[in-house]
Structures are given as C-alpha cells and as structure tokens.
Amino acid sequence: MNDWIAITHLDDIPRQGARVVELSHDDAVNRIALFRTAADEIYAVRDKCPHRGGPLSEGIVHGGQVTCPLHSWKIDLVTGEAVLPDKGCARTYATKVEDGQVFLKLA
C-alpha cells in the first residue's frame, strides 16, 4: 500500500489539536494520531506514546511537539522521537495537504 490516502479536510482537525485515524487491518486496530499545529502543519504519528503507550492524540500540541497526557513526555511530531532527556520513538507517517485535503501514506 504505497499510495496516498485522502483522509479528511484540514478544517476537520482542530488547530493545535488532533484527530484519531483507526486503521483496521487483519483484525488488528492501529491508531494513528493526525496532528494540526498552530502553523497548520499536519503530522501523523502512531497514537501510542513510546513511554507507556499513552494516547498522544489526547495531548496538548505546542510548536512542533505534543505532550503526552499520561506522564508528560514530549514527542517531536516530525521525527516521532521523545524530546531529551526522555528516550524513545513513536512511528511517524508521511502526510501532505492539497487544496485543504489531507493525505496520509501508510507505507
């Protein structure tokens, strides 16, 4: 699956917020958090904090980072890496926005 999928409209994601994309796939459900920053950039990160699996989509978005709601790790939205001194990485996915349409690439 190497293609771009049209997911939603920019306006349907709150600025400095996130939507959850639920991906069912051979009975397993993978949740991806689709973030929109204050600068209207869109990032997709697996909705599972590298610390103890907290739902990143529920966190507070600031700059290019999100703070996990469970124990306040900060995750860089571009790389998925935890901000030092914490160490860990959440998977990221490619995104693009064309004419207000948000695309996601799963491979």
């Binding site: 939603t8 400095q16 917020g17 939507r19 739902p55 966190g59 700059g63 124990h71 306040s72």
Partner: protein
C-alpha cells in the same frame, strides 16, 4: 502606643533564630536593636568546619545579610561588645559607651572555647575554634607553618584537624581519653574512625595529658637572652607541646578544642544567677529578672547547657512565643544526636549508646567494610544508638528513640534499617539524607533516591525543574516535591538555593504566575496571543504547562469576553470525563448536595445497562461513578443523562467538584440546621465554576461533622447559633485541616462568603495550587482581611463570582450531546 523596645546581645545563631521566629509570630511588635561583638552579620557557625576544609566560603555561611536586618527594620551594631546591663534603668551599654534602652532584653552570648590553664597558653599561635577570626588565623598559619597540634579528640577537634590537614599541615590530635569521641562513640566504633582518619594522614596521641606549651626555639633563645639581660620575657609564638610523660612534639599552631564554657561574664556582672550557664526557666526567662530572656549556649536549663543548634532552635521558638506574648510554649529540654562533618566519614550517635547493666545491645560489625552498628535496648525500646560507616538509618533510629517506639515487632530486623520510606514522604528534610538509594521518592513515577542522586551528580543538575525533566521525579502529582528538593539540597549541598525569590511560570517565560495574573488584569490582555506577545514568550504557542494556566487566568479574569480554548486544556477537561489507565473514561453525573431520588437512580441504572458500564461505584464525594465508558459512547450517554435532567458532575476538572452534606436537622437528632438543604443551595451557586485546582465543599449539620467539612476547600459546620465557615483543607496524600475563617448567622451570609472566598481564590491563587498551599502561602490574615473584614470588598467579590457564573453554568455534556466538538469523539476509520 509606642512600640516596645527589644535588645538582643549576641548576634549569633540562637539569638537571631529567636528574632526570626518573633518576626513571624508578631511582626512589628518591637523596635529591635542587635549588638554583636563580631564584625559580621549572623553566620552559620556550623559551616566553619567546611569553610576551614575549603569546601565552602565564608560568604556562603551568612544566614542573615545586612540587607535582611535593614528590611526587617532591625538596628544592627556589629563589632560592638556590650559591657554592662543596667537593670534598674533598663539599658545596656557597650564598652565604648553606646547605650540602648530596653523593655525586654534577650541575651544570647554563646560560649567560649575552654583554654587549658597550662603554662604557655597565652603564646601566639594558641587558639580556640569558635569564630571566623579563628578560622582566618588557622588558614593564615597553614600557609606559613608546618606543624599543627589539636588538643581534644571531640567533634570540634576532629573537624579542625581534618580542615588543617586538607590545608596541607602536618596534624597531630592529642586526646586525654582512651579513645576518640568518647562522648559519641564506644570503643570499637572509635577504632574504626581512627583508622579511617589515619588513612587520611592524621596522627593521634591518645591518653596524653598536656603539661606545657613551649615557645618556638628561636624565640626560646631570645627569651633566654632577655632573661640574662634582666628584661621581662616577651610572649612569643608557640613552638612545641610537652606532655606530662615528658614527650615533646613540635607545634607551630595549637588549637584547643577541649570544651566550651557558657559565656556568662556579662550576665554575672549584672547580677543574674548563673550556675554553669545563665539559669533560665521553661519559658526561657532568667530566673532573676523576668524582663530578661536568654537562649543558646550561654544558658543553663534544668542544669543542662546545650552545645548543638537543634536544641537551641527549640529554645528560640519558645522564647519568641513568650516575647510575642502568646505565652503558651514551654521548653522542656531536648534529646540530642550528633554527626561528624568530615567529608567521607559517617557516624551517628544518640542517647545511651554505651549501655549499662539494665540494657541489652544489638551489634552488627563488619570491620572489613568499615561499618559498625550498635543499638541499645531497654524493655523493647531503643535507648541509644552508635553507628559508624553506614548511617543512612540514623534519623530513623533517632525518631524511634525520641518517641519511645515499641520495637518488639521488628526487633529481628531493626539492625538492618528501614529500607523503605514508609508512609509519609513529608518528614523533615534531613531524613532524606538518611534514606537508602533504593528508597522510592516519587511514588507516581517510581523514581528511587539513587536514580535522582546519580542524575544530579552525573548530569550536573542544579534545579528542581532539571531534576523533574531528567528523572520525572515530582513531575506528576508533585507531592514529593519537598523530598526531591531535599535530595537535591543534600546532593549539591550549599550551591542549591531552595527558594529562588521568583519562579517563572514555565520555561517559555521569565515571568512568574503572579506577574502573568497581574499583566492580564492591568494591561487588559484578553487573548492567549496577546499575553504571549506582551510578556515576550520565548515559544510561539507556549507549552503544556503554560497554556492551561494562561487559559485559566484569562477565563477567570474575563468570563464574558474570553473564549475558552479547548486545545489548551488537559484531556480530561476537553473530553469532560476522567481518562482512566486503559484509555476509557468515567462518567459522574451531578447529584445536588448528594441528594437523589428513585427517578434519577432509575435513569442512571438504565444508562449503565444501555452502555454496558462494567462498574458502578459510590464516590467519596457522595456521587455515583460509571466506569469504563468508551470515548465514542460519551456523547450519546450524556444525551440520555441530560434528558433525564442530569448535568456534568465536573469530577474530572479543575473546577467545583461536589458539595458533600450530612443528614442534618431534617432527620438527624443532633442536627442544628438544614445542612442538606444548604448544601444543595451552595452547589447550585457554585457548580460549573472553573478553579485553579479542584475545589470541594461540605456542609455538616452539627460539630460531629459527619460530612468531614474540616478537610474541604470550603467547609460549613452548622451550630445552634449559626454557621462556622472553614477554609483551606484537603484530604489526599498530605491531609490539611481547615482554618476557621469566621462565623455567620444566616444562610444568605453563608452564600455570600462562599462566593467571595471562591472568587478570591480564583483571582489570586496560582494555577494548580489548591486552597491549602494557597492559604499557607498568602496567610489566613490576608484572606480574612479581604473576605471577612472588608464588607464592601466581599460584596464585590461575590458579585464578580456571580457574574462569571452566568457564563460558566452551561452544561458541557448537553452541548456535546448536541454535537459540539464532535471531532473530539469520532475517529476516522479506515479498513485495509
């Protein structure tokens, strides 16, 4: 009325602590004048040992700077020795003729080193170890001379010897006893200590009695020349020490540390009764003259003159209490424990550590590892302890010793120490020093002391924020903050400043909470962006710490204008439910004053079944909690509850949570007022209001207080003649009982005070600061002044509270059931 005059003679640790306590207890009660014969402001005498050892500076040891005296309106005369007290005309006079009148006089003249009366004791280079001048002389000598002899193998002597050794001198310690520190250690422990110190290069001469101090040889020669010429012998510098057994050792510096003598010269000259110290009673007044108080090492209380600061500080508290005319405290003596401040050497001792025929001893000894522990027991109680090498449990033992804890239960393991923190986490700071590395400091994040210490050392951390960031300790509920600060203080020592005068709100700004609150009000800042711009935030859109805080401040200040920003709220408040550990939510409908009825219960039962709620529980706040609800089900469930007449219980928010009530006059045979009915009214007044932190109320129908109103943020206790209003309590990890705000007569007054107090808290407290720490920070007097004494101010606060409530009392559940913020609850689904 003119203020009373208080004069303090002795600008040292005990006297100044008394003044600090007094300023806290009764600010502005006295005109205070302080005389000290040293040229310095009050410094920490204890730190002279690390200063001598080169581990600290004199500046770091200052306790009260000259500015401190000035700010507190205290007149300070340094370098002035008081030579006379005229008790009849009530003034003191210095040796250069300066006078000061007093209504009350506080004597804290400390003590003097005892100088052995042997020939040669007046030679140059023979000193005590007491003040900065002595330390200067020692440092000076160490740069010029080689041989130092310390007479006295007690705590002070060993600390002096250690310091001089570190300054490069060749040091011998002379001690008359059979072993070192015989007042603190038994023989086996002292042997271990001696070995350790010998390994550091110190030399020991035990069972030696000093006979004479001889002048240095060249001067001896000159001396003889002088004698021949018939001139009086000049007193030159010391050159050697001779013992009773005839042995002589070289000495260019002799430090006498054989004991201290209470400095009572001045008191005796004024006719105050002295007997190995200036005699005082349990209120720290001299027994001769009730206007004269005395504290510190110069004092003899019940026959004891103390030489350690802990008991002196207890005396200071008592003296301050009486000077403030509170008149309730009594000093009844102290039990002391000791530690030696030589880096790398740990010893601890307390109580009857030698034992006698009526006691039994538990001993653990590992000479190879250099550790030794002896606990002395009597009737299953600890009466003494002497520990060398591994002292982490010292304070634990000391606590049990003081409290007379029955140790029968854990007698078998007591020697192995505490090993876990136990209940509190709020004990005194020094306790932290005694904790093992495996002790869990932060229960929330499971961080142990060892981890924190390692991070502080290895990463060179200095502030609490850094420790939080790197270890997560105290990053969650924050109740261990005090412990973490103590670990920090203990690990980085004097470099750590516990209370920076100003603490920025977060890393995005220099400004403190108070400055942000003030700017929002004074500069009329009404949006988050305006705040970030006006206060020059360093980040474009803040962080997860400042955004929720600023959002709250804006909401509290501009209820009508400010548009609440969902993206700046923690997830609980955005989803209007409590996120649980598995990511599900809990739902708590509001039940006014804890009252309900069959229809409501039936509706809750229906909802619970319809959405397959796995667990239903009655909460501590008299509500029903439905657990395990999937986020996607929330809006539908809220709709059903809303249709049945329920509104959100805000059990998830920094907001008014519940008003708990008891049975009250309607049914209870003890009830004095309608506590339930009043609770319902109060909840209708306050529900929906956002607060700096969670906020709970309770109303009890009589002083039996079944609703536990005295551990609530705002508690009402009904009495026959009206209503007592209590504030600033909470349950939780660190329980705090409320303070009584005032008593009122009518329900209308209760309503007004309820609103006014809540509004003051909303306007002045820092975000995430509960009422308990807020009340402690600003002081009950401040709150009383605004809410009780100022009727007009109170009415305005109440009006502002009610005004804000118009915009706050909109049920968030109903809004969302009707479709608001739908994106929050609906995922986008893709199947592949």
């Amino acid at each position: 009325m003119a203020r009373m005059k208080l004069v303090l003679v002795g600008n040292g640790m005990a006297g100044m602590r008394t003044l600090e306590e007094l300023l806290k207890a009764a600010p502005g009660m006295y005109d205070i004048t302080v005389f000290g014969d040293e040229p310095h402001p009050n410094y920490n005498r204890i730190m002279l040992s690390p200063v001598l050892a080169g581990e600290q500076t004199v500046e770091q040891s200052v306790l009260n700077s000259r500015e401190w005296y000035a700010t507190n309106g205290i007149t300070l005369h340094t370098g002035k020795r008081v030579a006379k007290i005229d008790r009849k005309n009530r003034y003191v006079e210095t040796d250069d003729g300066m006078r000061a009148e007093y209504d009350r006089l506080l004597l804290a003249t400390g003590s003097k080193p005892f100088i052995l009366p042997v020939p040669g004791a007046d030679l140059e280079g023979v000193i005590g170890f007491r003040d900065i001048a002595d330390v200067d002389r020692m440092i000076q000598a160490s740069s010029q001379y080689k041989h130092a002899v310390v007479i006295g193998g007690g705590l002070l002597g060993l600390e002096a010897a250690n310091g001089l050794k570190l300054r490069g001198m060749d040091v011998s310690v002379v001690h008359i006893g059979d072993w070192l520190l015989e007042r603190q250690l038994d023989e086996p422990a002292a042997r271990l200590l001696q070995q350790n110190l010998e390994a550091k290069g110190l030399k020991f001469l035990l069972r030696k009695q000093t006979a004479e101090l001889l002048p240095c040889r060249s001067e001896l020669a000159r001396d003889q020349d002088a004698r021949i010429a018939g001139k009086p012998a000049p007193t030159g510098r010391v050159g050697a020490v001779r013992f009773k057994d005839g042995e002589t050792i070289p000495a260019d510096l002799v430090v006498m540390a054989v004991g201290i003598r209470p400095n009572t010269e001045l008191a005796e000259s004024a006719g105050l009764h002295c007997n190995r110290g200036l005699v005082v009673n349990d209120t720290m007044q001299t027994i001769t003259d009730a206007r004269i108080y005395a504290v510190g090492e110069c004092v003899s209380h019940r026959g004891i003159a103390y030489g350690l600061v802990a008991p002196l500080f207890e005396q200071a508290k008592v003296a301050a209490n009486h000077l403030a005319e509170h008149g309730v405290a009594r000093y009844q003596g102290s039990m002391t424990s000791t530690k030696l401040k030589v880096t790398g050497i740990d010893l601890f001792s307390a109580g009857n550590f030698m034992g006698d025929s009526s006691t039994e001893s538990l001993v653990f000894s590992d000479a190879a590892a250099g550790t030794y522990k002896k606990l002395v027991l009597k009737d299953n109680k600890l009466v003494g302890a002497c520990i060398y090498g591994d002292t982490i449990d010292g304070t634990w033992y000391f606590d049990m010793l003081r409290e007379g804890t029955d140790i029968a239960q854990f007698r078998k393991t007591i020697l192995f120490g505490q090993h876990h923190l136990g209940d509190s986490g709020h004990g005194p700071a020094e306790r932290v020093a005694a904790l093992p590395d495996s002790a869990e400091i932060c229960g929330c994040n499971g961080v142990c002391k060892g981890t924190i210490v390692a991070a502080i050392r290895d990463l060179k951390l200095f502030t609490l924020d850094e420790v939080k960031a790197h270890t997560k300790a105290s990053a969650s509920c924050g109740s261990c903050t005090g412990l973490v600060e103590a670990v920090l203080a203990h690990t980085v020592g004097g470099n750590y400043s516990a209370a920076p005068s100003k603490k920025p709100l977060c890393k995005c700004t220099e400004h403190s909470h108070d400055e942000v609150i003030a700017a929002i009000k004074d500069q009329g800042l009404k949006t988050m962006d305006a705040v970030f711009e006006a206060l020059e935030w360093s980040t474009p859109d803040g962080c997860a710490s400042c955004r929720p805080a600023v959002n709250y401040y804006l909401l509290a200040r501009w209820p009508a204008e400010y548009q609440d920003d969902a993206q700046s709220r923690f997830t609980n408040e955005r989803a209007h439910g409590n996120i649980q550990k598995d990511g599900s939510f809990s739902v708590v409908p509001r039940m006014w004053g804890g009252l309900t009825n069959p229809k409501e219960l039936r509706a809750i039962a229906d909802v619970a079944e319809k959405y397959k709620v796995p667990e239903v529980k009655v909460t501590g706040g008299q509500r029903i909690d439905l657990f395990g609800v999937k986020k996607t089900d929330l809006p539908a469930m809220w709709k059903d509850l809303s249709d049945a007449g329920f509104v959100s219980g805000h059990a998830y928010g920094k907001a008014l949570r519940t008003v708990k009530t008891c049975v009250g006059a309607k049914w209870c045979r003890f009830g004095t007022q309608d506590s339930t009915g009043l609770g319902v009214k109060l909840e209708q007044l306050t529900w929906g209001s956002w607060m700096p932190h969670k906020y709970k109320l309770a109303v009890s129908g009589c002083p039996r207080n079944c609703a536990e109103a005295t551990i609530k943020d705002f508690g009402v206790v009904c009495v026959d003649s009206g209503y007592e209003l209590h504030v600033g309590g909470n349950g939780g990890i660190k329980v705090r009982v409320t303070d009584l705000l005032t008593k009122v007569e009518t329900e209308e007054q209760v309503m007004e005070y309820t609103g006014a107090f809540a509004q003051l808290y909303r306007e002045e407290a820092h975000y995430l600061e509960r009422t308990a720490p807020w009340v402690e920070r600003v002081g009950l007097a401040h709150i009383k002044a605004k809410v009780v004494d100022d009727a007009a101010g109170r009415a305005e606060l109440y009006e502002r509270f009610k005004f804000g409530q118009q915009f706050a009392q909109i049920d968030p559940w109903k809004e969302r059931a009707e479709g608001a913020e739908a994106h929050e609850f609906q995922p986008i689904r893709i199947s592949a």
